[in-house]
Subunit: 282 residues, 4 copies
């Protein structure tokens, strides 16, 4: 498919999420942080908010290393009902405290339309997770807020379906949508998912929305976070979402893909020359 | 993987949805209709409730042909926000009228935790669609009701993830769960999805829950509904979910996979000898 | 895609493998055995020819139970170079002896253009395995023979690519081609492959070539061979390819998916009423 | 899976293709060109050798822009038997002439064991294409030569299967094997394949063999070749295989993914700062 063909196909179904001829990309502001500009931004932090101490430590470490935002889950969509389900509002309060200490804006997931108001009181950016990418009542609800949205790709969703989901949010009036590639499901078993980096330049062609990449979920293995972060930026991503835990081996969820603070500092250091090579900075 | 290995793997994560040694299968009752017994049941009707006339006609036709239940969507999860989104409560009222005329119990989809109470007032069985298979707030909410649940497989969900989602419902106290295979996403493009019939005997090994199959969504092409319905029953399915529309070419959704009433009658006729060959009836 | 659309798409690339308006299906004769007629045929035997004793025992058992052909591999395409690679010509001689004792025609795999002449001296039907479906020099070579060909589907090949491979054989002059579905690669891990039974009715629409199914490789688990064989026949398959080993637990390859002779007899018995329900016999 | 787990799993099946504790990577020499060292190498040229003029023009252009090797197919594995199948030996002679003019070593595909001797007379490096990754007679035959091998990943092969195929070559005595990622088959339709860049760092962990990437076949769209080439290098690839045609719109195969010479020059220019950022050069 050529660029023109792809845009033609999409334009019969998608309007606001499509880039017009000659349009620049949109930037999305989360508090003072601009996503989609020259600066590449990194949102980092633990998969789950587990304790006050763990979250504040993580927040200080990622701030110091150069992160622009703090990520962390208070409502967790876990495959098994017997897994840790998150601290709920208590977790949101811990995140808010971490923000007041570090100044980092917070991105955190919301799972249900009923919780949008509650989570929106604490979060600076609402995350729609991969499992909820086609949860249309949730998309409509967050579309009615003015909080910026981080819309993760469903793990078996095509780019067309992903943009259609963005359209649900945009159509309700919320124009601050950032897309986040986080790996698709394939037959390969040596990674948890297959990170589809070719989605980045395709999205850059067809949509004005900024694009981030989650190399932690996208691979499921911390050894791959450094090279795939470099690759994501080289492919044109506007930012990264990285899991960092003060003690990954004790994490209640996704420990095997979390970086420790030292590894995160070295990640940021290694990304700067790549950003520069592309005429951007970090 | 042998049966034993599969059960061992699952039992670390799933409890109530697993079949114990020597257990019989569970049967689920929807009004007078028993799912999971010797009788193979067919739930049929339009993809969407579009008008009173269309729905009542469809209901009468499928009843006459031998269907045991009426299916039809009032809340529709559509990929594009510009597609017909369903009639909402008005559609539920039409379904209720169709039930009162034909006596067929109704199965219809619920998309959001907030709508569970409303939809539950009209429906005899609540459908959780493929896109919501991992919508955990929704699973928990329907788990708190006493209405039987039809849990469709996510189109890229493993059998293990599917059973984990069933476990969310069972854990809340609702023990009336029926699983429905509806096709998985693969590289093949001549069908909309690839119907995974091997899921049926695997489920029969590891879980006591009844299993239905949706050959309409599972293939996306009406020409395939007859042979794949026969195959599903031959593989051990307890029932089918079939789209029937009085005038498929005028359908507002999924017309290309809907049978017309005559084709549905011939479907039922063709399935009876297969059921008999397996010692069951329909 | 409707039938018409599918045929239109294919006809720009495929000619001889396409069914014309009103054409009947082709039948392929392997010695006295007709594939594609009213009778459903079963080719059975061990994955690999391991010893004379094992092969002759398997041949007698499958003959007695009702098989029409003997299958067995002398040249084995194994993922690891350290796995048993087959007995080569010695294996072919054992197969020929089994044929002379039982009268069953032999289907066996050929891996290389250079071996076509050798294997063709012993085999009644040449099998092209899944890994070689797009080995065009091999397809061209077998296309120059007059030996019937069993063309397995590549495990990640679309139906269109499969028919294009059949076209390579047909174009060289060999019109005796039987297609064999053997499972496609998907994300699901509880089976080795996902048996794509919807391929059967699609093929029946678009090509006159007979269609067989291999439920042993297609699932990788012997517990699934019975239900998936029933389903394959109910979906319209013209025959089955089933792995049977006198002592599956001692097999040098694919033991976990092989039936023992008793289970094979019970398989055949269970398939007869399904065949009858469809107006066929076995 | 952690690094240790992955290596443990592989080591039961693969020996020579596995990296030992503390081993350095292997480098492979193709005439004077070293693959796997600090220098990132680019092999470029047309998909098919079509005419003497087209090939010599392409060779001069890619040489001038900075390519280290010339790629071009004389034996083409085409899905349809009615597509252009390559010029055969005449094409090999044109490639040899291009080499004598430009000094660029030649990499070209061999499809059949019988052609290994012929193609080996002209080629400096033999390519095993994706469709032949599990063509074991071919792997064994090229393993008996001393010509370096470029082993492309099968489009639905796991990394484990890919390394097992490399093992077939290494086991026969040929230790000059370079792996080439070229995209895997997934459900996504906006690209021809999904380029799996996470394979690069995984291979770097477990095998000493050099790794190249083919962004042309891996995406099927020329607009994606620049960003995905940058990403491949940032992820750690040792080289690229890029399709360049003097007039892409007239190409007999794969025109939509071929760069024109100007775009190729700009590609090389854009890759140099990325290579430098990683402490390598190009």
């Amino acid at each position: 498919m050529t660029r023109g063909e792809l845009t033609d196909t999409l334009s019969t179904k998608i309007r606001l999420a499509l880039r017009g001829e000659g349009d620049n990309g949109t930037t999305v502001r989360v508090c003072g942080v601009e996503i989609g500009g020259e600066r590449i931004i990194v949102a980092a932090g633990p998969c789950s908010v587990e304790t006050r101490d763990q979250t504040l430590r993580a927040a200080r470490e990622v701030k110091e290393a150069g992160a622009s935002m703090l990520r962390g889950g208070a409502f967790k969509p876990r495959t098994s009902p017997y897994s840790f389900q998150g601290l709920g509002e208590e977790g949101l309060k811990i995140l808010a405290e971490a923000r007041s200490i570090t100044g980092l804006p917070i991105v955190t997931e919301v799972l249900s339309p009923e919780d949008v108001e509650l989570v929106g009181r604490y979060a600076d950016m609402l995350q729609i997770g991969a499992r909820n990418m086609q949860n249309y009542p949730l998309l409509k609800r967050v579309g009615k807020t003015r909080t910026p949205i981080l819309l993760k790709r469903g793990f078996s969703s095509t780019i067309e379906e992903w943009l259609s989901s963005a359209e649900y949010i945009l159509k309700e009036g919320n124009r601050s949508v950032v897309l986040c590639e986080r790996g698709i499901r394939t037959f390969e078993t040596s990674t948890r998912f297959t990170l589809d980096l070719s989605a980045i330049p395709i999205l850059k062609e067809v949509t004005p929305l900024p694009v981030m990449v989650d190399p932690s979920h996208g691979t499921g293995r911390r050894e791959l976070v450094h090279p795939m972060s470099r690759a994501a930026i080289a492919a044109g991503a506007d930012g990264l979402l990285v899991e960092v835990h003060p003690e990954p081996e004790k994490a209640l969820s996704d420990g095997s893909q979390s970086l420790d603070p030292e590894s995160f500092r070295s990640l940021i250091k290694g990304l700067r020359p790549i950003a520069q090579a592309l005429g951007r900075y970090l």
